[in-house]
Point group: C2
Chain length 119, copies 2
DNA sequence: TGGTATAGTATTAAAAAAGGTACTGTTACG
DNA sequence: CGTAACAGTACCTTTTTTAATACTATACCA
């Protein structure tokens, strides 16, 4: 594994939030309300069932997310954030703030690049 | 692209720091001292030349890192953090803190899993 | 009887990220 | 003359991540 202790800390933290959809899943669960599988799907219109399942399973294994099955038909499964998961909140927050501050810049750069490429 | 504005902010922020080696490269450059290519290699013993080049090029394009070539033989190229790159500092810091606080937990879980798998 | 809702799984394919190895040109050192 | 240091590039392979599509079981509703 990683020998460098500093790298190790980054890796540990990033593993918990990296994945195309993990930050938004966490963001929604951090609102506090438990969410059902299809509620999450509706909140993330572009995610496939498979990817949602995979990400939730991963986060469940990391104990960031709790999965509760209600033995009903039709099935009901609720996902909620754990206390451990809540500890990620400051990370999500700075990411969110930084992103908000710099989305414009990225946009600008992108448009600029597309223009200069035609020169 | 991402329709969801919240996701977009996360994506923007994460794109800048995600990449197996980007956080540590940034971490080292954030110390302030410009670093030469091979100085970075020595700081990241397991990275290949190729990956270091790729990551530096990407971060250069994003204006997180500045590349200065000194026309000498043997060649000398110095990499340093830009002001924009410095704005990532709070993100790196919370990640680092969270990681430091939770490396142990991960370690514990891992050992536990390895044990229970033999049951 | 057919359709809908739930929460998924299985299989395959495609795309993205990372890695491995060899190679470049120039100069200084011994 | 042989070798090392510098800062890479080229080419190819492997691994990881993400996506697309079809499929499952059960119950309720019309």
């Amino acid at each position: 594994m990683q020998k460098n202790p500093v790298q190790c800390q980054f890796v540990t933290a990033l593993n918990s939030i990296v994945g195309k959809w993990k930050p938004i899943i966490l963001y929604h669960l951090l609102q506090g309300k438990p969410l059902r599988f299809n509620e999450l799907r509706r909140l993330l219109p572009d995610i496939t069932q498979r990817m949602l399942t995979l990400h939730l399973r991963e986060m469940e294994e990391e104990e960031l997310v709790k999965r509760v099955i209600y033995p009903q038909i039709p099935p009901k499964v609720e996902y909620s954030i754990t206390e451990y998961g809540m500890s990620l909140s400051p990370i999500l927050e700075v990411l969110h703030q930084w992103g908000a501050a710099h989305v414009e810049r990225k946009q600008f750069n992108k448009e600029n690049n597309e223009q200069t490429e035609t020169d």
